[in-house]
Subunit: 202 residues, 2 copies
């Protein structure tokens, strides 16, 4: 088993933090995404959409998509539960995971991707959309802050994958000057707590 | 238990098809999204991001996000499994579900949302991005067709939620003139099969 990894992108970090929380060690093979190795024909045999990370199982199966990789490890090692501990919790975690992805992580990623030189010639860029998604991400931070008033973590009383997704999204926002505003005290308190966990350095 | 539903959007259909496949009946309460009832303060108490569908549990918990709702029903009634039957299958289904969402469903939705009058004043529109996402969706149909050559369904030998997501995405593409191309025989064969299931009418 091994993971095709990169230190230069938010999604591989999501998987590394998840594994650190589980206490699972998996050999990592770096992929040079700056040189676009992931966009070549050889890597696309592992993942048709060319993204990292990709998990290679011992039977040769490739699992792409960060959350699919995390879910695999949740299945083979349920403790500590990072997707929720029962049917209702798992639905609530999935809800928050998706709210954070659709309203924060994707906007943060677009704010970078849609205008940065790194993606020039790699995707069809629309710089005006980068600006709109920056505003959308800032709107999301506002309501997430309000919603966090009564809760310790994103999806409730327990640390879950939704916290990991929110943390990597906010941290990646730096490159686009998207940040927790000074009056967003709940988000700041939450971000300080999740960032202080040893897993945050993974 | 009930579901806040709409006949006018692709995501509520995703949940209805899923429930039909499971043979589960849930009372549906229509929400007038054309009149933007979902964007009002009252509905936002149920779902802060204002989307439909929303599942209301008997204990008063609200579960928003289509896939979170589907996952809840998978948990309380595992048969037939629509998220995969074991750890590896569940990872593969999650991978395909996300590939379809990120590369097809979101582009199809953006091709409509980013330019249609329905969303004028509701979101920050960038019409140039609608055009780019139409092209991205068409690119996705091409590689999905190639990838389907050796398989009956999107994620393997069994019908799963990834097939539902792909079907509702392709069907919603009609409003933006995104369609399976005449030479995409694998996609056409797959689409005919999933559309012939009774659940497709849900």
């Amino acid at each position: 088993m091994k993971i095709y990894d990169s230190q230069a992108a938010p999604n591989p970090r999501r998987v590394r933090v998840f594994l650190a929380e589980k206490g699972i060690q998996v050999p990592m093979e770096p992929v040079d995404i700056v040189a676009a190795v992931n966009r070549g024909a050889e890597f696309r045999k592992k993942n048709v959409t060319a993204g990292v990370p990709v998990l290679e199982l011992d039977d040769g199966t490739y699992i792409a998509e960060s959350v699919a990789i995390c879910r695999y490890f949740e299945e083979i090692q349920p403790q500590p539960p990072l997707f929720g501990a029962n049917a209702k919790e798992r639905a609530v975690v999935e809800m928050w995971q998706r709210r954070i992805e659709l309203n924060l992580l994707i906007p943060v990623a677009d704010a970078f991707r849609q205008r940065h030189d790194f993606f020039k010639g790699r995707i069809r860029q629309v710089p005006a959309y980068a600006e709109v998604q920056k505003q959308n991400a800032e709107d999301a931070l506002k309501w997430i802050d309000e919603d966090l008033a009564g809760r310790r973590f994103i999806a409730g009383d327990h640390y879950t994958i939704a916290d990991i997704t929110a943390m990597i999204a906010i941290d990646f926002g730096r490159v686009s000057k998207i940040a927790i505003a000074p009056d967003q005290k709940n988000l700041a308190r939450w971000h300080a707590e999740v960032s202080a966990r040893p897993s945050a350095k993974a």
